[in-house]
Amino acid sequence: MDRYAEMFARLDEQNAGAFVPFVMIGDPDIETSEKIITQLIESGADALELGIPFSDPVADGPTIQKASIRALGSGVTPTACFELLSRIRAKYPEIPVGLLLYSNLVLAKGMDTFYAQAEDAGVDSILIADVPIREAKRFIDTANSHGIKQILIAPPNATDATFKAIGELSSGYTYLLGRAGVTGAETAATMPAASLIERLTSVNAAPPLLGFGISNPAQVKHAIESGAAGAISGSATVNIIASHLDDVPAMLNALGTFVSEMKAATGK
């Protein structure tokens, strides 16, 4: 089953783009995290991008670093993350679920074992923040053998050769970086991404979702107007978790409102 293709087809019919929230699995703990992820889905998220916490997240700004620290601090392991994903998948068979993580977590288990675990847990895609296209071949081959889509990143500074490679190798979706730097809501995405999106279209890349610095509905609207197939919002989502750690019902409520408002901005 190609859940991304089905999602994009459905959204095309609705004349809308995708809204994809990101949270760290196990932030602040597994039990709350399961409630958070459920809330995101119930509030209208089209797909999910989920992190597995890593000790040294070099592509992440302070917000997501702290989410990793909270999750690791509560004892979250990759195995616990996969168990949670399996429960989510059993409950929601159709929503595309992507993982976003770092290479050492994949290698520690053995690449094939890791992708097999992801496949068993119903994961649709894996994006490895510190594996550029130049190092990606063996990861892509392993992903393919497990029916998982390896997500590639299109940065604003990419060369033509990189865009060409994305065209040849991308599947699922393409993670389009809204700006340089690391993740975080402090620095807004640089709009318009239109010229990058044109380049991706010209090389037949998988549909672009714009991420990095997306924190409000106006940015989602702008991303979709610029031709993106949708928008990913990580740090803004995680900030809501971080600011409601002592009141989970209020956290879930705030997340629900945020996701509905972001989703409402995806109409074309």
Binding site: P57, N104, D130, T162, A180
Partner: protein, 395 residues
């Protein structure tokens, strides 16, 4: 695509966000062009000679070794301007920064030696330096923090994670991701993504080249062994590079065993670590079974790093170099011995290499020439050593 090999066997590579690939390619290109540019080389050589004080001396120890069959030489990188070998490659990379038209330098530092070297080179060459340093290290290394600031560098304490070198590297990489257009990341050791391990080796290889020339002049033959400490591995690769193709020369890298490699408190990435990816390279790292990076430990801040340069991982696997380890106590003992017997106060890092060389000297049964890379001087460590040894050094 890359013009140079990015890997040493399976080790090394470029495991960084896609965003940083253009900056690494630009660096590789600048390095290759500079290599063949007589003007660049003349300026680099002139800085090394007239500013930093190369070639450094090679000293035959007089009183340290009791075994009459052994001659133990010290390659005196401690005499280099800045107080450690670090100045060599920093000058090279600072010149590359200017060549690339960049005006700012980002660096990480643990003990502060690479930070000090970066600060001095940036002061000299008119570059703006910002140096990330773990918050704990900022506290432990106050004199070096002051030195950096005195020379005009901005020192930024890093609170995240363990507040040590590994976290400073993370933060430097994050800064670079946002500012690669105008800033060069001046990585301080022979680790990290390609092309850093190669550039750092090439800009330190004069250590081994001078050693070869000096030992040929004094002894008329190559040494039997060269010994160097290994944290990330820059001074060791600089010493080894010119001897890799000389099979008669043993290459010995000494990792920090901390409180013992049977405990969790050590930094022996090759000796006790497993293969994985940290800071852009596939190499030996200290990690738990899930792949989370573990914190390293050593009495010597400069060796306190949970990974190692990828070429060392390769040299270990193919058996060309041997990697051993020395505890805090053994290093502290060598530190005091060199002071008392030869009037030289070595860095705690270099004391690890010396400690192992002294064991080799004791055990030698044939005529043996050993060269230790005395990679730095120990002034920076005095405060720390006083805290540990107290008045035990009296008498």
């Amino acid at each position: 695509m890359n013009q140079l090999d990015t890997k040493f066997g399976d080790y090394g590579g470029m495991y960084v966000p896609e965003l940083l690939i253009p900056a690494l390619d630009q660096l590789e290109q600048a390095f290759l062009e500079a290599k063949d540019d007589p003007e660049f080389n003349a300026e680099f050589m002139s800085l090394l000679k007239d500013y930093a004080g190369r070639p450094t001396a090679m000293t035959l120890t007089r009183n340290l070794v009791s075994n009459p069959k052994v001659k133990l030489y010290l390659k005196r990188e401690d005499l280099l301007h800045g107080g450690a070998h670090k100045t060599n490659q920093v000058l090279g990379q600072a010149l590359l920064t200017k060549r690339m038209g960049k005006t700012e330098v980002i660096a990480e530092t643990g003990a502060g030696q690479h930070g000090v070297a970066t600060a001095l080179a940036c002061a000299l060459l008119g570059l703006k330096a910002r140096i990330y340093m773990g918050a704990k290290d900022v506290e432990r290394q106050a004199p070096n923090v002051f030195r950096m600031r005195l020379m005009g560098a901005e020192v930024i304490p890093v609170d995240s994670g363990s507040g040590t070198l590994k976290d400073a590297v993370n933060e430097a990489l994050r800064d670079w991701s946002a500012n690669y257009d105008k800033a060069h990341y001046l990585l301080g050791t022979a680790a990290g993504p390609h092309p850093f391990p190669t550039i750092v080796r090439e800009y330190h290889r004069m250590i081994g080249e001078e050693t070869r020339a000096q030992i040929m002049e004094k002894e008329g033959r190559l040494p039997d062994a060269v010994v160097a400490c290994v944290g990330g591995g820059s001074n060791a690769i600089g010493m080894f590079a010119d001897f890799i193709d000389e099979p008669s020369v043993r290459l010995v890298g000494v990792e920090p065993a901390g409180k013992g490699v049977h405990t969790k408190d050590h930094g022996a990435a090759i000796g006790k670590g497993t293969k994985g990816i940290l800071h852009g390279a596939y190499t030996y790292i200290m990690q738990d079974p899930d792949g989370q990076i573990e914190e390293s430990y050593s009495v010597s801040a400069g060796l306190d790093y949970p990974a190692v340069g990828p070429q060392h991982a390769y040299l270990s696997d193919i058996g060309r170099a041997e990697y051993v380890s020395v505890t805090d106590d053994e290093a502290l003992n060598a530190f005091q011995l060199l002071a008392r017997k030869e009037g030289i106060i070595p860095a705690l890092e270099s004391s690890h290499a010396l400690a192992y060389a002294l064991n080799m000297a004791d055990e030698a049964e044939e005529e043996t020439i050993i060269v230790v890379n005395l990679s730095g001087r120990g002034d920076k460590d005095l405060g720390h050593v006083i805290n540990i040894l107290g008045d035990q050094v009296n008498g």
